[in-house]
């Protein structure tokens, strides 16, 4: 995401890390999550799901900031993200 200027408190902000989960069999390949991810974390994968669509694939797992935009724009309930720390705590 392009910034016009670096925020003055940029060094104090802790950027969260998210882990993207994709439910491949629900995906219908509309590409909304890939197109509108602000960090461009996703891309189309080469594999097919059961219905013959290409589900997304995580291209840059370290860049996800857990903003949940993919989760909210996905019309298929097929993608969501969880915060990395919480997930490790659960395991």
């Amino acid at each position: 995401m392009a910034l016009w200027r670096v925020p003055l408190d940029a060094d104090q902000i802790e950027v969260p890390l998210g882990i993207v989960h994709i439910i491949k069999e629900r995906c219908k390949g509309c590409g909304y999550c890939i197109e509108f991810c602000p960090k461009e974390v996703l891309e189309f994968s080469k594999e097919f799901n059961q219905k013959g669509y290409h589900p997304p694939r995580v291209k840059k797992p370290d860049d996800c900031v857990n903003c949940h935009y993919c989760e909210i724009i996905c019309p298929e309930f097929a993608i969501y993200s969880l915060e990395a720390d919480k997930e490790q705590a659960n395991q």
């Binding site: 989960h21 509108f36 298929e76």
Partner: protein
């Protein structure tokens, strides 16, 4: 990644799975259809607003978005064509504690059900109406609807729609709705917060959601689903409290989004109790 890790990933569920009849998912909506996003925002709004979900009913009519009632794991009601609002009004009158959400499409709410809408808004029945506006009759094959923009091509207007579309927020405002907002599926976060506000508003709340219909509307107007969303991104103007007369859907000029009316007034059940439930009033003295 090993299969064990994969299995663990699969076991983690989508955050909205507790509100979905997952055995019916994947739903019937086409790839790129905006109803899924509108539906997911609606569920997210219902979850985040903190309303009692055991006391919440989702009502929908006929059409693509009418399928919404079948996918939600709450009490839900799939009604006859255009009659979602009358059924919802009846439910609200019978049990005033219910939160009633009407989730339906533009054809159902404004073409066949137009009269029900205007009277429910006039009487300020405590409903939350989420209208998915996809600019045509999607389920029946993409015919021209009351909301099709001027000059847009549909199966029944191959030369372009000669008529002007409805300005839905203006209609809702003129009829007396106490909360009116409009967002697109691209503005899913604002849409979710609008739905939360609409649920909290005591009275008739109307949220219009502009949604892409890639198969029946987009294909005839040379718009891929992503093109429609880019159009929503480039041509939308966010202007809260804009006057409802400025809200025509004209993509050449830009379409205004935002919250336009948030003006609570007494709702129909309160006024009914005040006028017709006389138990609390002292009995009239008899003539003798």
């Amino acid at each position: 990644m090993t299969t064990a890790q994969e299995a663990q990933r699969e076991a983690v569920k989508h955050p909205l799975d507790d509100l979905l009849r997952t055995e019916r998912i994947p739903h019937i909506w086409c790839p790129g259809c905006g109803i899924g996003t509108a539906f997911s925002s609606c569920l997210m709004g219902m979850k985040e607003s903190g309303i009692d979900l055991d006391n919440t009913v989702m009502v929908s009519g006929i059409g693509c978005s009418g399928r919404g009632a079948g996918y939600v794991k709450l009490d839900s009601y799939h009604t006859t064509h255009g009659r979602a609002i009358p059924f919802a009004t009846g439910m609200k009158l019978a049990n005033t504690d219910l939160n009633v959400v009407v989730f339906s499409g533009d054809g159902d709410l404004f073409a066949i059900g137009g009269n029900h809408f205007i009277h429910a808004a006039r009487r300020n029945v405590d409903l939350t109406v989420v209208c998915v506006n996809n600019f045509n009759y999607g389920m029946t094959g993409g015919q021209v609807a009351a909301t099709t923009p001027h000059l847009a091509k549909t199966t029944t207007t191959p030369l372009g729609n000669p008529d002007s579309p409805f300005n839905l927020p203006l209609l809702a405002y003129a009829c007396g709705a106490s909360y009116v907002a409009r967002w697109t599926t691209l503005h899913a976060r604002d849409l979710t917060s609008a739905i939360i506000e609409a649920l909290a508003n005591p009275g008739f709340s109307f949220v219009e959601v502009l949604a892409p219909c890639p198969i029946n509307y987009g294909r005839r107007n040379k718009e891929k689903p992503l093109d429609t969303l880019r159009l929503f991104q480039e041509k939308s103007i966010i202007k809260n409290n804009a006057h409802p007369t400025e809200l025509d859907v004209d993509w050449e000029r830009g379409v205004v989004l935002g919250t336009f009316v948030n003006n609570p007034r007494p709702c129909s059940t309160d006024m009914y109790d005040k006028v017709c439930r006389l138990e609390e009033k002292p009995p009239k003295k008899s003539a003798a």
